[in-house]
Structure formats: C-alpha cells, structure tokens
Assembly symmetry: C2
Homo-oligomer: 138 residues x 2
DNA sequence: CTACCTGCAAAAAGTTTGCAGGACA
DNA sequence: TGTCCTGCAAACTTTTTGCAGGTAG
C-alpha cells in the first residue's frame, strides 16, 4: 500500500458517484497537500480495483469507460441520457432471472452483465429545455 | 451512390453475421474484380448505415465495436463468451417491458438499449477444452 | 535489501479527419 | 460543372507499457 494508492482509493470512495478515469486523473494531478498521483498510476490502480471486485465498469457513453463501486452494492443497471450523460441506476431482479434461465438452457455460464438503456432523461426530453440547449451550442 | 458504397453495402449484407469494422476493412482492402474500398471510406459508410438505421452497434467485447443488421430484425440481446468471443443472440420481450415500465415512471424516454451478458459459452466452459486452450497459447 | 511501485514519455489500438484529386449526376 | 466522395496519411482519444529511479516493509 503506497501513498499514491491510498490517495486514489480515498478519492474513489469519497462518494458513491459514477466517474471516468480521465476525470479522476484530473482531480488527482493537482497536488492535495503534497499528495498526488500520475495518470499511469491511476489507470494501473483502477485496473486492480476492478480485478479485486471493489469497482466495476458500467458503461461507455462517450468512448470512455465509466466506473462505479461494486463492493457491497446490489446488482443494478443504468439508464443513460444521450443528451446530458446522466446515469440513472435501476434495480432488476427479474431481468437477471430471465437471462439466467436462458443461459442455463444453452449451457452458458454467466459471469456478469451490463444493461445500458439509452434515451433522454426527464429533464432533457422537455421540448423547451432542448431548444435552449441547442441554441446555447451555436 | 458510389462504387465504394455499393461494394461495402454488398459485403455487409451478404450474410447476417456480426462483424467488426476492422475485419470488414480487411476483406475490402483486397480488390474484388477491381472493386475495393479504403479504411476511411469503410468507417464513413458504416457510420452512415448506423445513422440510417440499417446497422447497429451491439457490443464491444475486445475494444472493437461489433455491428449487426438492424433493419427488419427483431429486437434481441447478446450473450458474449469471454473466452472465444462468440456472440449468441437471444430474444427478450419481457426485459423490454420491465425497462419500459421503469422508464415511464421517471419520465425517461427510451431510444434503445443494449444488454451484454458476459461469461463462458457451453464450449469454453468445459474444463478439458479449457485446459487445452490454455496450453495451446503457450 | 529486494521486490514492487511510480512517473514520464512514448507506444498502441481503434477511429476520425484535412486535404488534394476524382467520380457522380 | 458543381458537389459530394475517396484515399492517403496524419491526427486524435483513451489506455497501456518500457524504463530508470524511488519507496515499502
């Protein structure tokens, strides 16, 4: 356990938000009381946290892997807003059951799954907000 | 409609297999009776086919986008073997229904979804075959 | 003391894009 | 003829890796 790993783990588990590797790198590349960590170390440590089951990769909305806590949290999936990028968690006992039944029939051994539902969140699907958004971009 | 686009479309819709962009590029970079297409054109055309709803991206098993026909084919999802990479299609009326119900409750407007179930296919989960596989790699 | 870890910078892998010339209609 | 398309190569993005020096235990 090194200083770098400890600051990475602290930052990752400070809250239960979803995050991207690059964003974490950005937060950790500015020194916090002489503690910081480099890009390479952040990626290496994230890989270890995933391997050890503390984190999992949940989606890839913009070609960047999104991570979330996996230890002690129930299985769930995500709705992903294509406009603002928000991730909404949702529970799914039945879906797992359906998938498991099918897998059993064909002898497939499930390790995990990933359900990504794309669309527009309540906010972004309001016409007026959408129009403002588009104008803002010009 | 150019020669290049027509050969790409022909190749893509020649069968109903899943495919990766790079593999398609490889097939099309060798001339077929003076007809071929470059990497850039293949990527550009694939993007258009996805936008127009003829293709969709279904998974990303090895950091490469996997495409399949979307026009005229029923909604389905995939089991993905982590060992051999095989994609197994499976139908899922109930899953869509469950997701739609939840989305409706929170005002989320679904556009599409992607369920990727990872694990080992019947073949690869047989202990003996696995052992052979590992030895083969050395 | 030894093994493992870090940072840097360069490499990788897949995909996108600028540009100059070429094909479609 | 004008516009859109193609091919090449270079650019880009995210993530990984080689290497030389540093830290944990």
């Amino acid at each position: 356990m090194t200083q770098e790993r400890s600051i990475i783990v602290e930052e990752v588990f400070a809250d239960h938000e979803h995050f991207e590797a690059d964003e974490l790198v950005a937060r950790l590349s500015v020194a916090k009381g002489s503690r910081r960590a480099s890009r390479a170390t952040v990626y290496r440590t994230l890989g270890q946290l995933v391997d050890s089951g503390l984190l999992r990769k949940v989606a890839r909305p913009n070609d960047r892997e999104v991570y979330e806590h996996d230890y002690g949290y129930p299985q769930h999936d995500h709705l992903i807003c294509k406009d603002c990028g928000e991730l909404i968690e949702f529970q799914n006992d039945k879906i797992s059951a359906i998938v498991e039944k099918f897998a059993a029939e064909i002898g497939f051994r499930i390790q995990d799954h990933r359900l990504e539902v794309y669309g527009l969140c309540a906010n972004c699907s309001r016409p007026k907000k959408n129009r403002n958004r588009k104008l803002d971009r010009i």
